[in-house]
């Protein structure tokens, strides 16, 4: 049955229906994602002997379609439970109206979702009733058991999955989703959506690979008949393939590590007169003196952003060299530093250096940017006025050594004054 031809719910398992909405003309999602095929906002209705559960809702503009499909299956007073697997507005847009129409329904959210729920609903009297749930918690709908899986950071802190035990359906939220609208709904009936699936992972889940692995440890042991995500096709034909694929996508970048104890340092630079390039080579040489650090040197002029982002994702430490032109770091450096939202940088070691002619602001600006990206900046930046002398190149080598030391230790306890850090 084609979802575009009517506004009824569509059965995905016994007593479980899709009550979502189609958005085929969307071309840009949430500023950062493009989609050639629009998207769907998937919501679901589960009927038990003692009540009905609604799992997620849709974007506000699509509420009419959602309510029409819901009304084809249930009366509002039958709704006992509303589960929110993820509170982003594309899944909670119809929530306020649903709560108005089904005021008796109890809200179930993850333990991390409380502040977001309050921000979303902003109740005038400050009173909001809800239940927070975590892995193993269950709701009984009468012969139907909803079991929750705590899967935070996929891709917000609040995210969770909900598993319908009896039908082996995993309501996975954005996990295993993609922006691909095809009104035939099911993965065995829609067009080829593999590109959209991988593109979605690369932009939404990639920064959270460690959390994906944690979630897979909960998901993999489950018997799975159907994966029902909040965007894109419902995965009922060999659903486990997608679980396996997520594991592959989340582990690939780890395979190029030399060994567990080796730390990698990537030195990126841009140079106009060759001075910052000479500094970069000296930083590289200094860092390379230490055992246990694999150092790589890259001229930003010679590469594309995409592969550099891959290198940054895999590196433990990053150094950026930039000259200062008109009081700023140069554009290729900013282009790279503004393309890193798709990877996890938390806790990586960062450093900046560069030659300058007059004022030399670039180094401090890059350091501030790296701190803003949640990196550690343990070695103060190094600036050289114009052409580096032999002594200054020796300083660059020492800077590289310090950076490598920050990666491999061993650290010796030290005591310093706050004033010395300025």
């Amino acid at each position: 049955m084609d979802a575009a031809s009517h506004r009824d719910g569509i059965e995905i398992a016994r007593g479980v229906h899709w009550i979502g909405a189609l958005d085929p003309t969307l071309r840009t999602f949430d500023i950062i994602l493009r989609t050639a095929n629009g998207t769907t906002y998937n919501a679901y209705l589960v009927r038990g002997e003692t009540g009905v559960a609604v799992i997620d809702t849709v974007k506000a503009e699509f509420a009419d379609e959602f309510f029409a499909r819901l009304e084809s299956l249930a009366r509002y007073e039958e709704i006992r439970v509303i589960v929110l697997n993820h509170l982003e507005p594309d899944h909670t847009g119809a929530l306020p109206e649903l709560m108005r129409r089904a005021p008796q329904a109890a809200l179930y959210i993850s333990t991390r979702a409380t502040s977001m729920l309050k921000a979303l609903l902003k109740p005038a009297d400050g009173v909001l009733e809800y239940t927070t749930v975590s892995t193993g918690d269950e709701v009984d709908l009468g012969g139907r058991t909803l079991r929750f899986l705590h899967t935070p950071f996929l891709h917000w802190p609040d995210t969770q999955c909900t598993y319908l035990v009896e039908e082996k359906v995993l309501f996975s939220g954005d996990v295993f989703g993609c922006h691909y609208c095809d009104s035939r709904l099911f993965n065995d009936r829609v067009g080829d959506f593999r590109f959209s699936f991988d593109y979605y992972y690369a932009h939404i889940m990639r920064p959270f690979k460690a959390q994906v692995m944690d979630a897979l440890r909960l998901i993999e042991p489950l018997p799975l008949a159907t994966i029902a995500p909040t965007h894109g096709p419902i995965l009922r034909e060999r659903p486990r393939r997608y679980v396996t694929h997520y594991r592959e996508l989340s582990t690939s970048s780890l395979s190029d590590r030399l060994d567990e104890d080796t730390r990698s340092l990537a030195v990126f630079y841009m140079s106009s007169y060759g001075n910052t390039a000479r500094m970069a080579e000296a930083v590289y040489a200094g860092a390379d003196e230490l055992e246990g650090v694999r150092v790589s040197l890259y001229d930003l002029e010679g590469g594309e952003i995409g592969p550099f982002v891959d290198l940054i994702e895999a590196a433990d430490g990053l150094a950026f060299g930039s000259p200062t032109i008109n009081g700023d770091a140069v554009k290729p450096v900013w282009d790279l530093l503004s393309s890193l939202a798709v990877v996890n940088l938390k806790g990586k070691v960062g450093a900046a250096f560069g030659s300058y002619g007059w004022s030399g602001e670039a180094v401090r600006m890059i350091e501030d940017r790296m701190r803003g990206l949640k990196m550690r900046v343990p070695v103060p930046g190094l600036r050289v006025k114009l052409i580096p002398t032999e002594e200054e190149l020796a300083e660059c080598r020492e800077f590289g050594r310090s950076l490598a030391l920050a990666l491999v230790g061993p650290r010796e306890a030290r005591v310093i004054e706050l004033a010395d850090l300025a």
Binding site: K374, V377, R411, A413, R414, V415, E417
Partner: protein, 94 residues
């Protein structure tokens, strides 16, 4: 001005600071592993664990208590962007 020592265990570094200094002012400069999000006590990203000297930090505000609770903080966790150092303490990323 009274001084205090704050030790960042992950990088084995102790800094002598004037009493009243916020942890964020020190940890960022020194490159300790505590990371920051909103920097105004709302997001919980900068949660740190206080290993010693819990009572040598300013008391958490009601708002900080709420954020700690919502982020499932364990006992002796604080927000580094809010806590001010009054006496010697030892901290690490939560």
């Amino acid at each position: 001005m009274p001084k205090a020592k704050v030790t960042f265990e992950d990088i084995e570094t102790t800094v002598n600071v004037p009493a009243g200094t916020r942890v964020i002012e020190v940890s960022e400069k020194i490159g300790a592993g505590i990371i920051y999000g909103c920097r105004e006590g709302d997001c919980g990203t900068c949660m740190m664990h206080v290993l010693e000297g819990w009572n040598n930090l300013t008391e958490p505000s009601v708002l900080e208590e709420k954020v700690l609770r919502e982020n499932m903080a364990s006992r002796h966790d604080r927000l580094a962007c809010q806590a001010q150092i009054l006496g010697d303490c030892r901290v690490k990323p939560a």
